[in-house]
Amino acid sequence: MKNIKYLLLRRVTQIGILLLYFGANAYGWSILSGTFGSSLLFGSVPLADPYTTLQVLATGFVLGSDVLLGAAIITLFYFVVGGRAFCSWICPINMVTDLANWLRRKLQLDKEQTTHRFLKRKARYWIMVLGLIVSAVVGIAAFEVLSPITIMQRGIIFGFGAGVSVVIAIFLFDLFGVKNGWCGHLCPLGASYSLIGKASLIRVDHDHEACTNCMKCKVVCPESHVLHMVNKESIMVTDGECTNCGRCIDVCGDDALKFSIRNYLKKEQ
């Protein structure tokens, strides 16, 4: 049980939140309605995705105050809990790419380590900026026309249609194409949350003394470069690209990793 604690918690959160959104449409629940682009919490608190909001603003449209307030609330929330907690605790595509990644390991597709000359993890930041430029040029929120995240979410709430092909494409790309290809290289939404959560408070802490250098954490981590300190020094994972998924904590047999709160008062060693 110990080694799937956070995995289980994440799946419950992900599916629970999707269920609330689904129920809002199907049964008229008013706990969480709308979609990630813009939602209503308890029928009154507006929530909005910051990157989606930026795209709409880039088109030159003056948005309603509900969306602006919602985007501010979400930004503040992830500024505290770790930007990419969205990616691993909320985003439904995470279940798709996690499955692809798990299959990759089972099928041992990574035995021959290949380097992707053209696709670097930095690409997502370029795509993020590009998305805003294209939004401004074409006059529609550019990432929203192909975002597998909202396509999958709307699919679950309103019906998939042909949109399911986008989700399958992401699965195949991550399985047979590039390891962690979508979430770790391309997704501009994840990139935006990386930036939002750069200074966030909740972080994974590494204890070098307890570590036995088994490297299980690095195998399972979708952004393994953030664990550069493992078996080297006892510091926190402060990289904004860490998704706070807690998989490393789950698989660690030595209690060398745990969630902790970043202390800005104490000088970072």
């Binding site: 449409n25 199907a26 709409v56 969306v67 053209f118 795509i127 929203e144 026309v145 396509i151 249609g161």
Partner: protein, 276 residues
């Protein structure tokens, strides 16, 4: 020296590559985005702003569609289950901008709820509450202009002389948005043509007429306003109508200037002998 030279070359190469790939991606992305927003034949919810702005503004949250789905009147009296709502969220294969709300009158027309649940929930301003409110600030669905019903007279059986007033009866603005115009049927000599005529100052584009039309493919159908309506322009005015005259108050006369030939007179040209 050699390594720093190599490093510089590598740096320039990777920078060029990044810029090049970004440009490539940007071009593909722009082209794709421009294509997917190109569908003009779409009916939006009540209060939707101009289509071009709507495509910018809509944040694709679906709150309007959920409000439409969950109104009390949408529950089937016999089964207790809610029926499909009017507003659909465009999905892949619908050939509309994905994630935006629209409706298809032949599937589910807009029933013009008096409390217009879909409009006030819009957080982005894509659905403009003011455009569906009266002077007192109360919601007034009759002010919505989702589209305009158009009659194709060749397939409308009323124009054949067969008695049918399905659209007239289905119209929520009965006797206002569609009126019946009567003409003598010369063919039989003793019957009346009862022709449906749509009035665009009243028609909201709800599509109830289209849904009610009895022909195999509806002979009355709702088109988006930009497509259904012509524009007379400043060249024509109802001289007997003060209000229409006000319309062209700011019209500017178009003046064209023809430049006269500088090479002598026309007569001179004809007599110059250069005709062949």
């Amino acid at each position: 020296m050699a390594t720093s030279d190599n490093n510089r070359r590598k740096f320039i190469a990777t920078t060029l590559q990044s810029v090049g790939l970004t440009a490539l991606g940007g071009l593909l992305w722009s082209g794709y985005s421009d294509e997917v927003k190109a569908s003009a034949l779409v009916l939006r919810p009540p209060g939707a702003i101009k289509e071009e702005d709507f495509l910018k503004a809509c944040i694709k949250c679906g709150l309007c569609a959920e409000a439409c789905q969950n109104r009390e009147t949408n529950i089937d009296r016999h089964t207790g289950l809610s029926k499909a709502g009017t507003l659909q969220m465009a999905k892949g294969g619908d050939h509309q901008l994905i994630g935006t709300p629209f409706f298809v009158p032949t599937e589910v027309p807009c029933y013009m709820c008096e409390d217009i649940p879909c409009v006030p929930v819009c957080p982005s301003g894509a659905l403009d509450q003011l455009s569906v409110s009266n002077e007192a600030g109360e919601l007034d669905i009759n002010k919505s202009r989702m589209g305009l019903a158009v009659v194709h007279k060749e397939s409308c059986i009323a124009f054949w002389g067969i008695q049918c007033d399905a659209c007239y009866r289905a119209c929520p603005l009965l006797g206002e948005a569609i009126t019946i115009e009567m003409h003598r049927n010369e063919r039989t000599g003793k019957h009346t043509f009862m022709l449906p005529i749509v009035h665009d100052t009243v028609c909201t584009g709800c599509g109830l007429c289209e849904a009610a039309c009895v022909t195999e493919k509806p002979a009355i159908f709702v088109l988006p306003n930009e497509i259904a309506k012509g524009v007379a322009g400043d060249h024509y005015v109802k001289g007997w109508d003060k209000a229409d005259e006000a319309r062209i108050e700011n019209a500017k006369a178009e003046e064209t200037v023809t430049e006269l030939s500088k090479e002598g007179t026309a007569a001179g040209y004809l007599n110059s002998g250069d005709l062949y």
